[in-house]
Symmetry: C2
Subunit: 113 residues, 2 copies
């Protein structure tokens, strides 16, 4: 009941997903949520990633990601918690999240030699 509306995963098209992921800020957010693996406060993600944007801009990006079917928002008292729709995205677009995880600048690359 405390979930913000989001599209069913079957109705999500790859076109919209690609547009959503094309922005560097949103890509960072998705990667951070993927790394967190659990419900996370939006502003906490901002702090963790070091992305410097206003709260209205963050709200905008979260909205885009949610409408693209990539994340889910849950109302928890005073704050909104967000999470990656991991399994659903994996089911609809197999391997997509793995591609984002690879070459993530926030994680230490394998070839640091």
């Amino acid at each position: 009941m405390t979930e913000v509306i989001e599209p069913a995963i079957e109705t999500v098209t790859i076109d919209v997903v690609l547009s959503a992921l094309a922005d560097p800020v949103r890509l960072t957010l998705v990667r951070a949520l993927d790394a967190a693996g659990d419900w996370t406060c939006g502003s906490d993600v901002l702090r963790d990633t070091g992305v410097a944007i206003g709260k209205s801009t963050l709200s905008h990006h979260i909205k885009v990601l949610r409408q693209a079917g990539l994340i889910r928002t849950r109302v928890d008292g005073i704050r909104r918690l967000v999470t990656l729709r991991n399994d659903e995205v994996e089911q609809r677009f197999p391997g997509l999240l793995a591609m984002l995880r690879e070459q993530d600048p926030a994680r230490a690359p394998a070839s640091t030699a």
Copy 2:
């Protein structure tokens, strides 16, 4: 020797690929090249897909796709032939091209019921 310079597939990042595929025209071009499966003249792709853009714009998009490591350009006499770097892209980003092929509006969707 008659190949236009292109990045090695290992140096291609998912970020750049996502940005390249975020544009609807470029997405159409990639899908058309994927469907063609062989060296194709750029202007022929335009005609086949029905995309209405000027030739300088087409040249721009082809350049973006090539720099993103997705396509290859070969000089053939007076014209330039382009092709998808199918195997390399599949190796680096497994499943990516399949995602684009699915839900391709140019191909008849499976569920036309």
